[in-house]
Symmetry: C2
Subunit: 359 residues, 2 copies
């Protein structure tokens, strides 16, 4: 004989559970569950009684318990390098919107691009039984143990922004090679012959792609690749600053920077060295923001669809969670070159006009 659930008296108030509702409505918990989940047909009379009780008690199902029973939490984990990097907020927002449509919430983690942090978070997310994970992978491979865990639990993962060697998973990325190619080609077209590169960390897939796009553009435009004009940064402001200090004294005609934060650092260096853009050097960079058109130098940029990137990744993840099978897919979103003044284009046009006029 099982004795009835012990009545708790200590805490005067207790959050009502499904039993409380059932008791008040004089039905079984099954009926209550059927009503809250619309899972099975319930007669109108009982349904009404249940709903009344729910309202009276202000009952809300405990999603923890539900998650435990159904083995799904309607939560997805998202690991980004740093939400404070202005690139990611829009991505996260896109993912959150998409997730929310399907009733999913997002657990946000910052890895700082450190493998150890990433590993800790990944394990935590698995322990919290998230239904899936959106991951901007840190450089480097998973530890064997983690790899094994991931394979074992089969929690779907979608890679975001970066692919990762050794990880077989869906991915949502941007066509960074093309983005860089377009930007650098544009610089060449405007007439710049010596073009420097401030690259991201080359062991990160998208930095590599941007570097490749840079090289390809040089080749295509018949320009010389000068290793002395290439500096590898880490996508943060300070590395852009150091790159600027190293690069600007060499007087390249143009500089292509692989992300916004490093561009900020580079401009800081230029400021200190009293060099102006685009008068003293042309500039094109990755990532676009709503404010860039209204401050000088008006940056020429490669605009990445950040929001869409996050939304797409979330969609892919939700499909996997919903049970979609098949081998991993990679969705590549297209960047768009956004020409403003920093590349020297406007000066270029003016010059052309002047030449034309002179003749």
């Amino acid at each position: 004989m099982k004795k009835p659930r012990r009545v708790r008296r200590r805490m005067a108030r207790k959050i009502p559970n499904i039993y409380d509702v059932a008791r008040m409505a004089r039905v079984s918990v099954f009926t209550v569950s059927a009503v809250t989940n619309k899972s099975s047909h319930v007669s109108v009379a009982l349904k009404r009684r249940v709903e009344t009780s729910i309202r009276k008690l202000n009952y809300r199902p405990n999603l923890l318990a539900r998650g435990l029973a159904k083995r799904q939490t309607h939560t997805i984990g998202m690991i980004v390098p740093d939400i404070a990097n202005p690139f990611f907020p829009q991505v996260v927002r896109g993912a959150e919107d998409e997730a929310q449509k399907d009733g999913y919430s997002i657990l946000l983690c910052n890895s700082d691009d450190k493998q150890e942090k990433e590993e800790v978070y990944l394990e935590l997310l698995l322990s919290k039984r998230v239904d899936g994970i959106l991951l901007t992978k840190t450089p480097g491979r998973f530890s064997p143990r983690l790899q094994q865990m991931l394979a074992y639990v089969k929690t779907p993962i979608v890679l975001l922004m970066r692919t990762a060697p050794g990880v077989r998973a869906d991915a949502a990325v941007t066509d960074d090679l093309k983005g860089a190619f377009d930007a650098v080609s544009h610089l060449a077209r405007v007439g710049h012959r010596t073009i420097a590169l401030v690259s991201g960390p080359l062991h990160v897939s998208n930095a590599k792609a941007r570097w490749q796009g840079f090289r390809k553009a040089l080749v295509t435009n018949g320009l010389h690749y000068d290793p002395a004009l290439v500096v590898e940064g880490d996508y943060r402001i300070d590395s852009g600053y150091r790159a600027g200090l190293a690069l600007l004294p060499r007087r390249p005609e143009a500089i292509f920077v692989a992300n916004y934060l490093m561009t900020v650092g580079l401009l800081k260096a230029a400021e200190e060295m009293r060099m102006r853009c685009p008068e003293d050097f042309a500039l094109a960079s990755f990532d676009d923001y709503p404010w860039l058109g209204f401050f000088r130098p008006r940056l020429t940029t490669v605009d990445l669809p950040q929001y869409e990137l996050g939304a797409t990744a979330a969609q892919m993840l939700l499909e996997r969670i919903a049970g979609k099978r098949g081998r991993p897919r990679t969705r590549k979103l297209m960047p768009q070159l956004c020409v403003r003044d920093s590349c020297g284009f406007t000066q270029h046009v003016r010059k052309l006009a002047a030449v034309k006029k002179a003749r």
Copy 2:
């Protein structure tokens, strides 16, 4: 007689649970639990056996189940208007860092400053049994039902950035009145006599405070308050743009804008009207970002400690979660005026120098 837990054969692999570990180590689940939680003393021999089994099985406690049993999830909910607003990422980051130190994760939600979304999220967070909530309250009051729920479950809330009438809770805010006062006073000191205001939505506490700071500065500096020079926006780019279109034709000597996004909009309007800052109008605005010093106009701003704000709020929340009692406290963080060129200060100084020289 209770029959032993049914052996599941259907799914070949199953995530190991505490029973599996106990069985392999030939101990009871209690012992395993005691080991993983270090909650009670376990003999060295058993402890070793348990640890070995844990390692062999790659066991990780199911945090859902733990949460259900212990009635705490080590998760906190965070509701911000929009993570894509560049103000919030740093705030979120501060909160996340602080939470993570104590083993808490963050569930992130965007309310878009809509009461309905906020309410849905709040209920969801409660249903997910978060241990506490960080809330940048939308304007308006909670519905009675929600208010009742919140009071009932006693989940601690800390208000972030904005206080809210009718909500008795800890709060972490910035001294916006002082921030605005300092900025506007500075504009006056530089010599501007007609100063316009692009305000945030006045039913939001911090917009109100900034407006008050503006007015106080006018009074203190003996300037006239002209309602025609005040426009109320909604903190978004577009409202700043419209404000610019309305305000700039009136040729105020200076404009004070209550946040960054609206400043961006205002500059867009200025651009269209071919008015330059600071030559045609001076500008000071709220919120500072790492890049502002390197683009023109170099904005004079009120720098708010965003990261610290998030961190402080999280600390306060964690204290409440840990059981701290006492009446609600409000922590007010200090802003810092960051003088650059847009306020016309440098021009002002140059003029003074010229005058001096002339004598």
